[in-house]
Amino acid sequence: MTGSTIDAGEIEKFQAMADEWWDPAGKFKPLHMLNPCRLDYITSQVAAEFSRDLSTARPFEGLRLLDIGCGGGLLSEPMARLGASVVGADAAARNIPVAQVHAEAQGLDIDYRHTTAEDLAAAGETFDVVLNMEVVEHVADPLTYLTACRDLLRPGGLMVCSTINRTPRSYAMAIVGAEFVMRWLPKGTHEWRKFITPDELYDLLRRAGLDPVDRTGFLFNPATWSWRLSRRDLGVNYVTTSLRPA
């Protein structure tokens, strides 16, 4: 495992950062709160497409999966636990050892790499599943990026892509709500004008050579303080599934 490349003196620092990533009440609380909902969507889409039974112990055995923007491994770890062979990629070098330290403690074997989708595509890597969650609103050129994602999928492969809609409500929720009022996310993490509507994303996906097959909203309920999936309300956070034509 790549854990051997970590400088021993740094481990403690990485451990502290991992604890921060994985503290459900800490800095990444919004991601932890959203995570069960994201996982419900991802697992049901992958299980349906590849005819896997989620009641079995390791339903994603034999699937090669890429988690782009893996951070501390909030999605990579569940996917590895379900049996997928996982590559976690992050453009921020500091996240890699942090994610490695945590996966090792969990007894999970995950291939974390400091790289980008474009570089992986250029190296000719391919996957059955690409998770592209809360990334597309951060990239400079979404079409180039999504085209690289298409190249990363084997024909018949599946990509789950989530982002934030560009609506007055998302402006209020994501900018005023999440970033300023709730102090959930570091200020400046998102820039509202870069947000993409579901129709725009479907158009981009098609132009990238993908076949979008599903769109679903992630809906926050302030009364229960939790997220749920919504077929109708894609007004703020939403997620899509697309396939690379065989």
């Binding site: 459900p24 932890h32 069960p36 996982l39 697992t43 112990a57 969990q106 007894g107």
Partner: protein, 404 residues
């Protein structure tokens, strides 16, 4: 680091055993740790439990009910009466009949020995790994929990669940404190054989000194739960069998004919105890380890089985998503689900007992009118029946009789 199992359960009683079965049915890997596992073959010790309809559904969904059904007595009617020893019951009585709800009987009565054996034999044929030893120490870290056993073994899991009863060592070692108080009452527990059939009717008499429950068992037998002030309970307990029956008879009334003791009799001081937290890092509590309530409504085991259903569902969903089943946010979902309900039950049974366990004429008048009113209103009565049958609240799947 590797794990010996996903879930370690401390305590293999009624709650621990059903939880092990529920988690295994959802594909989780479980080790059940108990220093004195159920061997079967025990004679009747006089103890029995009320099973709400929802609890019966859970046992059915887990494959336990088929082994218990022949030994379970359906409760077809509940009669609640305000009474004083040696007096005719108040004309204002409450009657609840299962015919008013669609789901069948309101619940069942089963002897604890049958329940224990039905659960233990189902566990024995399941993939649950049972270990006959006690937990002596536990320690947690960010990725799991380790339990030291009395036989020197050390086991590692993602979460340790304490089903080890009212003096839960799991709770104590996790630093979870309990709040509550002792009642000035003790419960006298026994079973009686009687001359006339009970017709599946459960009786709850509210006596000034404390409530008396007569609950139907199979055959011409009933289970007695009789709450009394400590001194009085001790006095009755010290009597010989004939004296004990002589004390019980006037309260019992003549409607079941001659009575005789069946099995042993017990007494224990009543208390209310709620864990301040149902979860701690890598630890969760279920059943009496989390809450002990007044036996007035026969809801102790039913509340424990609700814990089982909710916790098993939370962990099953987490496993299906690939989440770490012992992660703090996963365990917090269980606590959120159960704590409000359990606190409400504790408050309700406490208030009920305080309202009925006295002879204040004004209160007596008030509660008689109240019972008369509830009885006169079909909607309120159906609501009370559904509550007793466990059919209210946000029902976990197992309590609806559905698999996880």
């Amino acid at each position: 680091m590797s794990y010996d199992a996903d879930v370690l359960i401390a305590g293999g009683g009624l709650v621990g055993g059903t939880l092990a079965l529920a988690l295994t049915s959802a594909g989780l890997d479980v080790i059940l740790i108990d220093p004195a596992p159920e061997a079967g073959g025990a004679g009747f010790d006089g103890r029995s439990s009320a099973l709400a309809l929802t609890s019966q559904r859970l046992l059915k969904a887990l494959g336990v009910w088929a082994r218990l059904a022949d030994d379970a007595q359906p409760i077809l009617q509940i009669k609640v009466t305000d009474g004083r020893a040696g007096e005719a019951p108040s004309p204002f009585a409450l009657e609840f009949d299962h015919a008013e709800i669609e789901e069948g009987p309101m619940g069942y009565m089963a002897e604890n020995r049958h329940l224990r054996f039905a659960i233990a034999s189902t566990v024995a044929e399941s993939p649950v790994r049972a270990i006959a030893a006690g937990v002596t120490a536990q320690s947690t870290d960010g990725a799991g929990v380790s339990a030291n056993l009395a036989d020197g073994r050390r086991l590692r899991g993602r979460v340790l669940i304490g089903c080890d009863g009212r003096d839960s060592g799991t709770a104590r070692r996790a630093g979870i404190r309990h709040v509550g108080w002792r009642y000035l009452q003790s419960a006298l527990i026994c079973a009686v054989r009687h001359e006339r059939p009970h017709g599946g009717v459960a009786h709850q008499f509210f006596m000034p000194e404390g409530p008396l429950a007569i609950l139907p068992l199979t055959g011409n037998r009933s289970s007695i739960v009789w709450s009394q002030p400590h001194a009085q309970a001790a006095r009755v307990m010290a009597l010989d069998e004939a004296g004990y029956l002589a004390a019980l008879r006037p309260r019992f009334g003549g409607f079941l004919g001659e009575i005789a003791l069946e099995g042993e009799r017990y007494t224990y001081p009543l208390s209310l105890s709620l864990a301040q937290h149902f979860v701690a890092p890598r630890v969760a509590l279920a059943g009496d380890a989390a809450h002990v309530v007044h036996p007035i409504a026969g809801q102790g085991l039913n509340a424990g089985l609700k814990d089982v259903a909710a916790l098993a569902q939370v962990l099953a969903e987490a496993r299906r998503r690939g989440e770490d089943v012992g992660a703090p946010d996963v365990l917090a979902r269980y606590q959120t689900w159960r704590r409000f309900d359990v606190t409400a039950l504790a408050v309700a049974t406490d208030a009920f007992n305080r309202l009925f366990s006295n002879d204040n004429p004004l209160l007596r008048f008030g509660r008689d009118i109240g019972m008369g009113l509830v009885n006169a209103l079909p909607g309120a009565r159906r609501g009370a029946i559904r509550e007793a049958a466990g059919l209210t609240g946000d029902l976990p799947r197992l309590l609806q009789g559905r698999p996880l």
